[in-house]
Amino acid sequence: MIHVEKLTKFYGSFCAVDQIDLDVSRGEITGLLGPNGAGKTTTLRMLTGYLVPTSGSILIKDLSIDDESLAVKKLIGYLPESAPLYHNILVYDYLDYIARVRDLDGRRRIERIHELVDLCGLSGIMHKNIGELSKGLRQRVGLAHAMMGDPEILVLDEPTSGLDPNQIVEIRDIIRAFGKEKTIILSTHILSEAEATCDRIVIIDKGKIVADGSTESLKQGAGEERTIHLTLLHADFDTASQTLSALDGVSRVERMDTPDSGELRLKIFAGGPDRLRERIYACVKQTDWVMVEFTQEAKSLEKIFRDLTREV
């Protein structure tokens, strides 16, 4: 659906986006994640044809954005950050104007506006001036703007920034409802947001892609070090550590603070084979230790994000 190759953008001598390669397939909700100033907005602006890349190519449905900008723009609906809409126009007039620019004729135009009013929940505010709307409502009008042409690709820049929790949930529901059959790219720096909405997460830092994968695979950190917490009763550290270290895949066993209750709390660092937990369990079963806690620490998205984008 979207094919990006070696996309680069310089502002003067500052490199905002550095040789990004990205492929997005149909029906995917992709989250572009990164700290402020990482190049998310610049990337999206190039995808939508607002900015011209310094170098690199963007193909949308095999159409080049340079040569067929009109055809490409018809396929894309875009909502920039904080929905910079016109202020001195009624919601209905605005949507009508967008429909006209998007070349929807008479009946189709009215039908489409009605559909979007239902989808985005605009029925009570059609007669209001956009300048008087709250931020959440303006964001919804912005979403209606983006979805007007029934685009195959929806690009949203920080769609929930600055909204209250209820509004965030509402916007998220609209995005998900729309994302069932459409391709969506959204940018955010809120991690829970990406986790809740996206199928796939691309983490950008300083203009480069530093991680790319499904939410699950990023969390599992495939192939990377995992941490398992194990708490035993009636065990002493030396024997336990020896027995466990002998298992294939365990790299290190650490003792956590043991209260006087007689519990032995261990932290097992492991890489390698996947079925390690099964073997740890089997190993403990053969002894007369009692297992009271046994968990694998899921690497939170937050931790991944911080690990990847930390200033060195």
Binding site: R45, G49, L70, Y78, L79, Y86, R100, R102, D103
Partner: protein
């Protein structure tokens, strides 16, 4: 073409849903009306010459005030990003906004037709120069709108856009009045560049292709400039 038309309609409507349009039209009518009629009965001649002589000067600051918001406001609020990512070409946007400014200038002239009609009741008005004058005025208004659109692309600040536009318009208006300051070799060139000179020709009632071509070139040059500036911003 439909896209240009939609943008034109939207921009023109924007003028009339806010008080700006009415204020600007009132100021324009007050100024032209006052200067015209204050000397009209002293000259005691049934023509609109004073009105048309003053028109380029009035237009020089009224039209940049009308056009200053066209791009500067959108650049400031960021709505330009939403506009450009709609399926429209940059040329559609520039042309649509320019046409709205030019149409506004033409609409502004409509109430002044009353001057012509009222004079024709009390004296023997020669409609030739009047018609020429109005054709010239529309061309002049369109040219200054193009200047204003260009000035508006240069900045996010509407006041800066207004002043820049005004300076260029004044320069075009007054260039042929100040040529005696310049060496004789360039006098001809400067006279030809001046909008005031070409406007005077048309408002005498002589519709010369050279003058029409002049205004067409000014419009084209400044719109092309505006297009280039906006293209450069991407």
């Amino acid at each position: 073409m439909t896209r240009t038309l939609q943008i034109f309609k939207k921009e023109l409507r924007d003028y009339f849903v806010s008080p700006i349009a009415y204020i600007v039209i009132c100021i324009f009518l007050l100024i032209t009306g006052w200067f015209f009629f204050s000397t009209f009965f002293i000259f005691n001649q049934a023509n609109l010459r004073t009105f048309f002589t003053l028109l380029p000067l009035t237009f020089s600051f009224v039209i940049p005030a009308v056009t200053m918001r066209l791009f500067a406001e959108e650049l400031h609020s960021g709505s330009y990003e939403m506009l450009l990512t709609l399926p429209v070409r940059l040329s559609d946007i520039v042309l649509g906004k320019f046409l709205a400014g030019a149409a506004f200038a033409a609409i502004m002239l409509v109430p002044t037709l009353v001057y012509g009609f009222s004079i024709s009741f009390i004296g023997d008005l020669d409609w030739g120069p009047v018609a020429g004058g109005y054709i010239g005025a529309v061309l002049l208004g369109a040219s200054y709108s193009a200047v204003g659109v260009f000035a508006s692309t240069l900045t996010k600040n509407q006041i800066v856009a207004f002043i820049t536009g005004m300076v260029i318009c004044f320069a075009l208006t007054l260039l042929d009045k100040v040529v005696f300051f310049f060496p004789p070799q360039v006098v001809d060139v400067f006279t030809q560049i001046a909008a005031g000179y070409h406007f005077e020709n048309i408002s005498k009632g002589i519709l010369d292709t050279r003058d029409v071509l002049y205004f067409a070139s000014v419009i084209f040059a400044f719109l092309y400039g505006a297009h280039m500036v906006m293209q450069e911003k991407r």
